[in-house]
């Protein structure tokens, strides 16, 4: 207690000079983050005229293009997240509970995807599944057809497949950490009691992994909502997401006000998802979910 009393500042005393160290990082944060964000919000509200109103929001929110982008963003993000959860769970279960030679190496390799730029996967997919990719060329030669038989890459499904590939490790990381905390004896006892593999996965492993699964899924959803590189690189026909619409409005149409309105909505959506993610992590306990 004596130590604690010394450590705590006494009430009524001015903060020590040491507290001023917080000022430079706060200034940097303000300059790099809050100020540009403020500019975006101001532009969204005031437009080029300078008069603050919600008319620009009303205009953008009412446009079909925005609805289309929002729809694609949600469909792609939700589908990709669902895919990441399923694939991430299955891969993590296989790596953890059915050990095979090189399993750890495979886990590490999957993990390295986190470090790679997202468009790289889209690029590699064009080599594999593209019109002139390995798969289509082989099939065209094999089946003696003139048009590429596999034609999903330049659609919404191509974007979803790429995002699943890129973001699955974000689900696997907390899952592998959570699985490592499950006592092997639990699995063995469950098996000795008569449970088969599926029941063990469903009744023992899945409940234990649920916090990690939900936290990983929330993070995935957050990242896929804001994904830009993959959608741009795939160049899917008629697939416009919110980040791509912002790019289109700002860079190609020079409509900065509309871009800022969409950006503000996108930021609000991201903050909502981030709040959900933090809530999930807090609710289940970050340590248990393997996220700290």
């Amino acid at each position: 207690m004596a130590d604690l009393a010394i450590a705590l500042p006494r009430s009524g005393e001015p903060p020590s000079a040491g507290g001023l160290w917080i000022v430079p990082p706060l200034l940097a944060l303000a300059a790099l983050f809050f100020f540009p964000l403020g500019l975006i919000v101001r532009q969204a509200l005031a437009g080029d005229s300078g008069a603050v109103s919600l008319s620009h929001f009303t205009e953008v929110l009412g446009s079909g293009q925005f609805h289309d982008a929002l729809h694609h963003t949600i469909v792609i993000a939700v589908s990709s997240t669902a895919g990441c959860l399923v694939l991430g769970f299955v891969l993590s279960v296989l790596i953890t509970f059915t050990p095979f030679p090189g399993g750890k190496l495979v886990a590490r390799l999957i993990d390295t995807f986190i470090a790679l730029p997202t468009f790289l996967v889209a690029l590699s997919f064009t080599f594999i599944y593209g019109s002139a990719g390995i798969l289509n060329e082989s099939l065209m030669r094999l089946l003696h057809v003139e048009l590429p038989p596999v034609d999903f890459l330049y659609s919404q499904w191509g974007v979803i497949l790429s995002e699943i590939t890129v973001y699955t490790p974000f689900v696997m990381r907390p899952l592998l950490a959570a699985f490592s905390l499950i006592e092997p004896a639990q699995i063995e006892v469950a098996s000795s009691l008569g449970a088969r593999s599926l029941r063990i996965v469903g009744r023992i492993i899945l409940p234990a992994a649920l916090p990690a699964l939900v936290a990983g899924g929330s993070l995935c959803l957050l990242l896929t909502v804001n994904e830009f590189g993959i959608v741009l690189f795939i160049g899917a026909k008629d697939v416009i997401t919110l980040p791509l619409l912002i790019y289109d409005k700002a860079i190609q149409q020079f409509d900065y006000t509309a871009a800022c309105v969409i950006a503000a909505i996108n930021v609000a959506l991201s903050l909502c998802l981030y709040s959900l993610y933090r809530f999930v992590v807090m609710y289940f306990g970050g340590r248990r979910a393997g996220l700290v």
Binding site: S192, R199, A208
Partner: protein, 385 residues
């Protein structure tokens, strides 16, 4: 008994619950026939042949890495033998999947499913086997009552003490009415007081379920001696001794068994001469000593004389001989007993007796005696070498 705060109101094992559960426990033995388990070139269980008779408790004891847990895991189906055959009852289960072996298993760290309440843990095996809802409804409380945990049915494992968790684990294993019960160091994670109480409870449980066959793996000789009908002593993957608890304790077949199962004084003696009626005489320096030749050691050879510390006496025995004189090295008082350590011709001899009013001082000369019937000769050679 287990303290009331650990057990709660339902601590008494219910006779009716036991009676309800008992007839359904099918009595089956366990057979190991030349079973070997290896990981690559490393043999962890070497040619184990052992029979656990129906309704019997057999304890496998040995130091870490001796292969005792591997033997149990082979019965459970978690390791596959590279050679040999394992049977449960009359059924060869060597290549049967663990879920199809009909065994109950309790492990050291309880392995309760943390997201399930006590009653859900107990019901798990029944559900996995597709038991009808009314069977589950009847059997779960019955098994919880059997282990004195009926009033804790709604609690999660994290809300239970170690002893309580172990009781739920036992109830969970018994709920499926297994042919055999495998206990893998079930009391190791408990503190000394709870361990003693649980040991009594396990003994009582088996008295109430006499047809239950139990394979009990432990490194604790007290648990083995208290519970087991027969004890197998393992070392380096091999079964080096097997017999009734009494017999192994009184007549250990080798040095390792003598030292591992209880404390033993082992003195190197020479020139064994049989004197009839299962007795023999040897020389220890200038002294002539007599003891049982239970293992029929041949005349003329050297061997070890095994005397338990509590069989050494300070007062002369009625019969002549078997007298050893040494110098007191240390005296320890342990409340209900006194330990005296003697140096006899360069060999350490330990004696345990009731607390003395005037214990001998270190450095003093002391003569101890033992009865020939309470000492035995043990072969000098180590098992397997």
């Amino acid at each position: 008994m287990i303290p009331a705060d650990l057990l709660g109101a339902g601590s008494a094992i219910s006779a009716s619950a036991v009676a309800a559960a008992e007839p359904a426990v099918r009595s089956s033995g366990i057979g190991f026939e030349d079973v070997s388990v290896a990981y690559g070139d490393l043999v962890v269980l070497d040619s184990l042949t052992l029979t656990v008779r129906p309704g019997e408790i057999v304890a496998l004891i040995g130091p870490s890495g001796s292969g005792k847990t591997t033997a149990l895991r082979a019965v459970a189906g978690f390791v596959r033998p590279v050679r040999g055959r394992i049977t449960i009852g009359t059924r060869d289960v060597t290549n049967v999947a663990p879920h199809a072996r009909n065994i109950g298993m309790v492990v050291q760290n309880y392995a309760l499913f943390p997201h399930m309440r006590a009653e859900e843990n107990v019901a798990f095996g029944l559900r996995a086997r597709g038991a009808a809802a009314d069977v589950i409804r009847a059997r779960v409380p019955e098994c919880l009552r059997m282990v004195g945990m009926a009033s804790y049915a709604k609690r999660f494992p994290r809300e239970l003490s170690g002893g309580q968790q172990q009781r739920v684990a036992i109830a969970r294993a018994l709920a499926i009415r297994p042919q055999v019960l495998l206990l893998d160091e079930p009391l190791s994670a408990l503190d000394a007081q709870i361990r003693r109480s649980m040991l009594d409870e396990l003994a009582k449980l088996h008295r109430d379920l006499p047809s239950l066959t139990v394979l009990y793996v432990t490194h604790d000789q007290t648990e083995a001696l208290t519970l087991a009908n027969h004890i197998g002593i393992m070392r380096d993957g091999r079964l080096i001794a097997f017999g009734s608890a009494q017999s192994l304790y009184r007549y250990p077949p080798n040095r390792f068994s003598a030292e591992f199962l209880g404390r033993a004084n082992l003195l190197p003696v020479q020139a064994l001469t049989s004197t009839g009626a299962g007795m023999a005489r040897v020389r220890f320096g200038e002294e002539a000593l007599a003891a049982r030749n239970h293992h029929g050691l041949p005349d003329g050879g050297d061997c070890l004389l095994c005397v338990r510390p509590h069989d050494l006496r300070l007062h002369p025995a009625e019969e002549a001989g078997n007298r050893l004189t040494g110098t007191v090295r240390a005296v320890q008082w342990q409340g209900d007993m006194q330990n005296v350590e003697l140096d006899v011709a360069g060999h350490v001899l330990r004696l345990t007796c009731a607390p003395m009013h005037e214990p001998p001082a270190p450095g003093a000369s002391l003569t101890v005696h033992f009865s020939a019937a309470e000492a035995t000769f043990v072969p000098e050679m180590q098992p397997g070498g």
